[in-house]
């Protein structure tokens, strides 16, 4: 039982849960896992779009200067920029629609993303608008 628990505590799923716990909140505690464990889960965090959230936990920890942390930081920067690009695209789309008398409502990706502590923490690939038929 003890062996099984130890193995579970080192599983990727548990490590990711530890790494991302409260990362979306305004302030989150520094991450305390080993550098080896972080290196193991970084590809999974990046691949699932959670790199920026991972960086928020790592940046206040002793791991912040490691190679694995730098990868998360790059993802964070890129997603912050992507969010700004999306914001400008949304602004343009709204201006065009309103110019023709259509009042759109923005839903899903953007509206969920704005609930996070920083724009860009929750990546989204498209802009969902609904309009009156």
């Amino acid at each position: 039982m003890r062996a099984a628990k130890a193995s579970l505590s080192k599983s990727n799923g548990m490590l990711i849960a530890t790494a991302l716990g409260s990362s979306w909140r305004e302030s989150s505690a520094p991450l305390s896992i080993s550098e080896e464990d972080l290196s193991r889960i970084v590809p999974l965090l990046l691949g699932s779009g959670a790199g920026a959230l991972g960086w928020r936990r790592v940046r206040c920890s002793d791991l912040k200067d490691t190679e694995a942390a730098r990868e998360l930081q790059q993802a964070y920067r890129l997603l912050m920029l992507q969010a700004e690009v999306h914001r400008l695209e949304i602004k343009r789309a709204f201006a065009l629609l309103r110019a023709t008398g259509i009042e759109p409502v923005l839903i899903k990706g953007w509206s969920v993303a704005r609930l996070y502590a920083e724009r860009g923490l929750r990546p989204y690939g498209d802009i969902d608008l609904i309009i009156r038929p």
Binding site: G47, M80, E84, G125
Partner: protein, 162 residues
Amino acid sequence: MKRQDHLTPKARKDELVIRELSDELLVYDLKLHQAHCLNQTAAAVWKLCDGKATVRDITNALTNELQMPVDERIVALALKQLAKFHLLDGADKLQLPPEILRVSRREMMRRMGVAAAVALPLIISISAPTTVQAASCVTGSCTAGGLPCCVGTCQSGICVGN
């Protein structure tokens, strides 16, 4: 260093998306599809490039802003990098004087010491592995049972039709 009073660099503004973070400035170049990260010194120099200020003016303004003595070579190093990353107007044609082109980060670090090197301007390119992003539909390639096509239907792994 020879005074560069004739040089009045201007920051490029068009087709750039800028996001300011607490300790760095992120820039996305919509024309070249490149992303860059400017540290505080590089960002400060870039913001001071209004097309009117000379290297000397920028150095003085930077001294005030950072509240520490700033060498003209720091500004020169920043300009060299800003030009390299196409963040100055007419960067392709911008003729930076040899005095500026000769300034290197390594040399500055040797002169200033590692501790003071944090004040050196630095611009890095941002690249990251492809991430999965939440989306309601796909364009181009598609998979059976996966996300629906934004336009048309999924046939043999490709969205076709309108």
